[in-house]
């Protein structure tokens, strides 16, 4: 199966489908063949991965003791039919 070449612009539009493993086999092959020779698209894909990593590092909201106790009180009241 010969995979047709894709342009850099097309690669930028397909990157999410690629990362989500949603590309048909032929398009996935075209995508990966393009990456073999295109340094800028390698950079672009790396930046998309960095973006996902950065999103995953947003600070968390800890469960404060007071919140936990308030929720537990509400849970008890609900159980007691209150």
């Amino acid at each position: 199966v010969r995979a047709p070449d894709i342009s850099c612009l097309e690669l930028t539009e397909l990157n999410t489908d690629y990362l989500e493993q949603a590309l048909p086999e032929r398009e996935q092959l075209s995508f990966e063949l393009h990456l073999v020779y295109c340094v800028d698209c390698q950079t672009f894909l790396s930046q998309m991965r960095t973006t996902v990593t950065a999103l995953g590092r947003l600070s968390t909201h800890p469960l404060h003791h007071e919140t936990q106790q308030a929720l537990l009180t509400a849970f008890r009241a609900r159980r007691a039919g209150g």
């Binding site: 342009s7 850099c8 612009l9 097309e10 930028t12 539009e13 990157n15 999410t16 489908d17 690629y18 990362l19 989500e20 493993q21 949603a22 990966e32 990456l35 073999v36 340094v39 800028d40 698209c41 390698q42 950079t43 672009f44 790396s46 930046q47 998309m48 991965r49 960095t50 973006t51 996902v52 990593t53 950065a54 999103l55 995953g56 590092r57 947003l58 600070s59 968390t60 909201h61 800890p62 469960l63 919140t67 936990q68 308030a70 929720l71 537990l72 509400a74 849970f75 008890r76 609900r78 159980r79």
Partner: protein, 224 residues
């Protein structure tokens, strides 16, 4: 060839797509067991579910709400609904997908049923060579590399930039992006929670990631 090997290793999305991977499945089984125990009145089960999901759910609610108070109010109501003996994950859905659906309903955020509007390109068209050029649709200029954001000083700027970019997204796109990439919720759980199709989920994810990438370029791009 080395690149192909590297691509094969990295092809897997850094965030889960299906909730059927062993780790997600194990967590869902544990969640469902805790849900049953919580509904039987076990406080330790309620606390265990709180401990596991409250933080990410509050972060989601806070990023979807106008203020933290509204987010907290919606989350308290959500937990009491989850603890109620009625309702529960429908066939094929996970506890997490169901719980986020309950939370979203309580947040009363205006979500569009799909991407809506005109689809925006991932990268500005002016970054590519115009039609008729020998290398049409290729990069017009080399793409500037990014610095690593591991530097603690840069890390704070990155976090701020990401949060600002998220706030600028439509609430529907923001909901998808926060669930998928911030809270690492599997794609199928997101479609369950939001009642959108897999294709729409991916389109929204694509748009959201593209906008955050643009914002990050402002702080990470190596200039000069």
């Amino acid at each position: 060839m080395a690149l192909q090997v590297a691509e094969a290793e990295h092809r897997q999305s850094p965030v889960p797509i299906l909730p059927s991977d062993p780790q997600s499945q194990q967590m869902d089984e544990s969640d469902r067991r805790l849900l049953d125990e919580m509904r039987a009145g076990r406080e330790d089960a309620f606390l265990a579910l709180l401990d596991r999901h409250h933080g990410p759910m509050l972060r989601f609610a806070a990023l979807l709400s106008a203020d933290e108070t509204a987010a907290c109010t919606a989350l308290v109501a959500c937990w009491l609904t989850l603890a109620d003996e009625r309702g529960g994950p429908v066939m094929g859905a996970t506890f997490r997908g169901w719980a986020y659906g309950v939370l979203l309903a309580g947040l009363q955020t205006d979500l569009l049923p799909g991407p809506g509007g005109e689809r925006r390109p991932a990268v500005g068209q002016d970054r590519f060579l115009p039609p008729g050029d020998r290398w049409e649709a290729g990069w017009a200029d080399p793409l500037p590399a990014w610095r690593s954001f591991e530097d603690p000083l840069l890390s704070a700027a990155v976090q701020q930039q990401v949060e600002s970019a998220l706030r600028r997204l439509s609430s529907t796109t923001r909901a998808v992006l926060v669930l998928r990439d911030v809270n690492r919720v599997a794609a199928q759980e997101v479609t369950d929670a939001m009642g959108i199709s897999e294709d729409d989920q991916r389109l929204l994810l694509h748009d959201g990631r593209s906008r955050v990438r643009e914002a990050l370029a402002a702080v990470l791009q190596v200039t000069g």
